[in-house]
Amino acid sequence: MNWLVPLPVVMPLLGAAVTLLLRRHPNLQRTVSLVILAATLAVAVALLALTASGDPLIVAVGGWAAPMGIVLVADQLAALMLVVSAAVTLCVLVYSIGQGMADQDDAVPVAVYHPAYLILTAGVTNAFLAGDLFNLYVGFEILLAASYVLITIGATKSRIRDGTTYVVVSLLSSLIFLTAIGLIYGATGTLNLAQLADRLDALPDGLQLGLQSMLLLAFGIKAAVFPLSAWLPDSYPTAIAPVTAVFAGLLTKVGVYAIIRTQTLLFPDGPADDAILIAALLTMVVGILGAVAQSDIKRLLSFTLVSHIGYMLFGIGLASSAGLSGAIFYVVHHIVIQTTLFLAAGLVERRGGTTALEHLGGLARLAPLLGVLFFLPALNLAGIPPFSGFLGKLGLLQAGVANGGVLAWLLVSGGVITSLLTLYAIGRVWNLAFWRTPRPETVAADGAASVRVLPRLMVGATLALVVLGTGLTVVSGPLFDVTGQAAQELLDREPYIQAVFPEEAP
C-alpha cells in the first residue's frame, strides 16, 4: 500500500492543475476541489490505519533509494497530521465555497482561490511526509507561496499592508531555513533525515548547537514562537475568514511539526530543551497578555493562537514520551479548534458586520446557533473540560509535574495562568459580543441588509468542525493511543531510521 503515500501531495497538485485548466468554469472547479480534498482525507485515514502497527510506510520517490533520492515517510505522527489537516482543509473549503457563492465570488475569485488553496494543501501534506530536509524546505515553500497568495486575495489596502509583514517575515524564515540546510549539508554531506540523525551525532557539540538553533529559528518563526511571533497577529486577521482560519489552524502547526520532527530525530540529546521551555513560557504568557489587551475578536484569537503554541513547545521541551504525546495531542486539538473559532469569527463578522468588540452585541439572542458555534470551541480553547483542550493540557501538565524540574514547574504555572487568561479573554468576548444588548449601529444595519443571513454551507462547515472538535473528547482514548505511540516512535528514533534504511537493521 506504499503507493498511497505520495498521493496526499500529488492529488491536490493535480487538482490545482485541473482547476487552472478549468478556470472559466467555477462550478467544475469547486467540484474538483471538493473531490480532491475528500479523496485526500480518505487516503490520509487509510495511511493512519496502515501505520498503526508501528511500521512507518516509506516511499523512495522515483525509485531512488535513500539516501540518494527523496524518501517520503508516513509514520503515525505524519499520518495523524495528514488526517487532521485534510479534515480541516476540507471543512474550510466547504466554508469558503459557501462564502464565495454567497458573495458571488466578489471577495474570493475562484480562479485564484482554488488552485492556490489546493497547492497550499499539497505543501502542508508534503511537509508532513518529507523524509528529506531539503524536501521539507520545498514543502514549506509550497505552502508559504500559496499562503502569500491567499492572504493577499482581494488586494485591499489593509491586506497588502498586513500581507507584506507576513510575506517578508516568512521569506526571511525561509532564507534562514535554507541557510540551515546549506550548513547542515556542508557539515554532513547528506539531506536524508534518517541519515542526518546518524551523521549529526558525529559533529562537535558547538556546531550541532549552531545547526540546531538555525533550524529552531526558522521553524520558530513559522510556528510563531516568542519573540519571533509578533508578525502573526498583525497579518492573519485581515485576510478573508476561511484563509485566516486555515492559516491559524494549520500553518503554524506545520512549524511545530517541523520542530517536533527535527528535535526528536536530529537532535535527541536535547541541549536546547531548556531554551525551548523558556521560549514556551514566554510565548504562552506574552501571547495571552496580548489577547487580553485586544478589542477585536480576530486579533484576540490570533494572540491566543500564539499563546497556545507555547503549550506545544512545552511538551516538546520536556522531551519525555508523555510530554511529546501531550504536545502532539495539543497540536491536533488546536488545529481543529483554532480553525473553528476563526470560521465562527467569520460568521460573526457576517452577522454583526464587524469583529470589533465595541460594535458587537447580542449575538447570542440574534443568532443562537452562532452562539453555540462560537461558545463550544471557545470553551474548548480555554481548556474547559471535558473538551480536548483540557485533555491536551492535562497531558502536558502531567508531563510537566512528572518532570519536576524548576523550569517544568514554571511552565506548569505558566500553563495554568495561560489557561485562565484564555478563559478570561474568551469570557470577555462572550460577554460583549454575545450577551450584551446589541449595539445601536448593529441593529440599524441589521434591519437593512439581507446579507446578514448566514449562508447554510458556511454554517454547516463550521458546525462540522465544532462536532469534530467536540468529538475529539469522545475519541480521546484512541487519539492518545496514537499520539502516545507517535511520541514513543519519535523518542526511539529506531523505527524511523530502520524503515528508511532497512538493510542496516541489526
Binding site: A145, T164, L171, L172, L175, I181, Y185, G186
Partner: protein
C-alpha cells in the same frame, strides 16, 4: 574538510548587505535585500559542496567533479526566489497603487495599544469594572513612566 575562505567572506558580505537592505521600510529595498540574501544563501550552499569541474559524466572525471547536489538545491532556490521576487514586486506595485508609496506601514491596532501603554491605561473595555480611578485624561499620571 578545508574550506574556501573567499567564499565564506562573500557569504558574509551578501548577508550583511542583504540584511541592511531588508531592515528598511521601502518595499523595493526589502525586495532587493531578499534577492541579495538569496544569493548569499546560494553561495553558502555552494560552499558546502565540493569544488571541481562541471558535474557532467564524460566531461569531468568523477573524483574531480563539483558537488551536483548543492547545485540542484541552488537551482531550486534560484527559481523559487524568482517567483517570490515577482510576487513581492506585484505587492510593491499594488501598495503604490493604493497608497502612493511602497513603504511598509505600521500596524494600526498595535499602535493603538502602544499608545495606551504610553498613556498608562489599561483595557479599553466597557464591560470590565473600571480599571483605574484615573480616566484617559488623567494627565499627571501619564508623565511618570
Amino acid at each position: 574538510m578545508s574550506t574556501n575562505l573567499l567564499l565564506v567572506i562573500v557569504v558574509g558580505v551578501l548577508f550583511a548587505a542583504g540584511v541592511t537592505l531588508l531592515l528598511e521600510r521601502s518595499l523595493t529595498r526589502v525586495i532587493l535585500g531578499i534577492t541579495m540574501l538569496g544569493n548569499g544563501v546560494n553561495v553558502l550552499i555552494l560552499l558546502g559542496g565540493a569544488y571541481g569541474g562541471p558535474p557532467i559524466v564524460g566531461v569531468t572525471p568523477e573524483p574531480g567533479m563539483s558537488d551536483p547536489l548543492t547545485q540542484a538545491m541552488i537551482l531550486t532556490a534560484i527559481v523559487i526566489t524568482l517567483g517570490m521576487t515577482a510576487f513581492l514586486l506585484a505587492m510593491a506595485y499594488r501598495s503604490w497603487l493604493l497608497t502612493g508609496h511602497d513603504d511598509v506601514q505600521d500596524d494600526v491596532e498595535d499602535r493603538r495599544i502602544m499608545e495606551r501603554a504610553e498613556r498608562d491605561q489599561g483595557l479599553e473595555d466597557q464591560d470590565s469594572p473600571p480599571v483605574t480611578a484615573a480616566g484617559p485624561d488623567n494627565s499627571d499620571q501619564a508623565g511618570q513612566r
